[in-house]
Symmetry: C2
Subunit: 299 residues, 2 copies
Amino acid sequence: MTAPSTSSGTNPRLSMNQATIRTASLDDALRLVRAGGYESIGLWREPVQEVGLAEAARRFGDSGLRLSTLCRGGFFTMPEGRERRAAMDDNRRAIEETATLAAAGAPGSRAVFVLVAGGIPEGTTDLVGARTRTADAIAELAPEARSAGVTLAIEPLHPMYASDRAVVSTLKQALDLAEPFDPAVVGVAVDTFHVWWDPEVLPQIERAGASGRIATYQVCDWKTPLPADVLLGRHQPGDGIIDIAALTRAVEAAGYTGDIEVEIFNQEIWDAPWPEVVARTAEAFDAAVGPHLAASVTA
Amino acid sequence: MTAPSTSSGTNPRLSMNQATIRTASLDDALRLVRAGGYESIGLWREPVQEVGLAEAARRFGDSGLRLSTLCRGGFFTMPEGRERRAAMDDNRRAIEETATLAAAGAPGSRAVFVLVAGGIPEGTTDLVGARTRTADAIAELAPEARSAGVTLAIEPLHPMYASDRAVVSTLKQALDLAEPFDPAVVGVAVDTFHVWWDPEVLPQIERAGASGRIATYQVCDWKTPLPADVLLGRHQPGDGIIDIAALTRAVEAAGYTGDIEVEIFNQEIWDAPWPEVVARTAEAFDAAVGPHLAASVTA
């Protein structure tokens, strides 16, 4: 057993994804995560926008934390038209936000913007078209990401979200989408919750590593039965059935050396006191992920 | 628009999977399905066992219906031991039931037994072991299926069931499992609800057809949001977001000429009067599936 971590012992690669403590404001999140001994945070756009980008970047810079990712954009599967143009514009703003926040963050900040494709347009069965438009959108955004020094991380989501949230469902599919582009510009997000079930996941993680495309690694666990809202079925690493050890070893073997986020959507965790969640997340990470990292916890 | 079907116009390839009218006894199911103009039914083991195999076979024979499949067995992912032996024995009995019922059914009956692998053993993260034991179980059952003239249909289930119900999640994985065996002995079940999201589904349907391994084709639809019990999120063909036309055309192009089951788990449909469900299923099939069959509705 790994001993509960203290502030000084928090794994240097652990990053708190802000969604895990989603009721906290930006200020509270920065303070709590720092107090918990974390070096890194994955920010969400909404709390950043609440205070405005320039002010958010200033406060984030003052926190001394690294940026692991900015979450999230995408949602560009609709047919060409005003709604799609609005989505593309929003993604352009997010690229700028990512660059600004990464520049303000501590050294080692990662200018990674996470993309969730979006679902099948309402009232249609046009999965194929939605996927084509995903590829088109990435091609449109890639030059702007390159100019800004930002990596777009295509996130495959679990297939139970394919209809309404992400028509990109497997790591293979995400890597195929990324392939035409420079790996510094278009990579993938590997999230244990979304990929654990995939019979092809280990070779695809290896492929992602070989092409330098693992832009972020996120961990959390899966438990059955799922809650009524299947979006909220995420748990602390080690609390479920995912073989997090095997996935983590594969990501390490693939050469990923960046921050590792714990991103959990779970009503019970959202209802718990923030400092408790921050501490418990570090403990869970130490037990489930830490032992499988090449560079393990060092005090 | 296809006109609502009448008894005489019911598509000859449509089979009612008994789960769609699960509250009906065997006798009621046979009577209702026959009265609805169907030629074929997919039986479930429990209502058959309720009256005993010999008696069920007699009544089924009297119905004049074809057997499309017997549902279902499998659930053999646990480690070797008493529980696993009991599961294997139960699957052996099911092979015998399939052979007996198919022999009793009308000409064209298919001796197809549907296999759902089972989930990750309770309290473990042993997905890999569960998959290995699935392959072992199929190897153990294949000779008995061959002797009995039964085809084992490995059914990939949607990945949202991978933890607790089926560690076989994609058609590719099911075909890889089937590959060592004669296609007459080990095939796959293609169910639109389980495979629609898969970026590889069309080439894998083609592969399944080329190797003669499509043992059954089942249709129903997916709607978002999912109900609280995700098992019950199945809908009438055409009521959701699955491109059933594309999948049906692919299965037809792959050379499948057998019965096509509508299998729906849905509390609202289970609560509806049986004759209404039987009629509505035929209508939905005519509209969503019928137009894409090489041999379409003939009176």
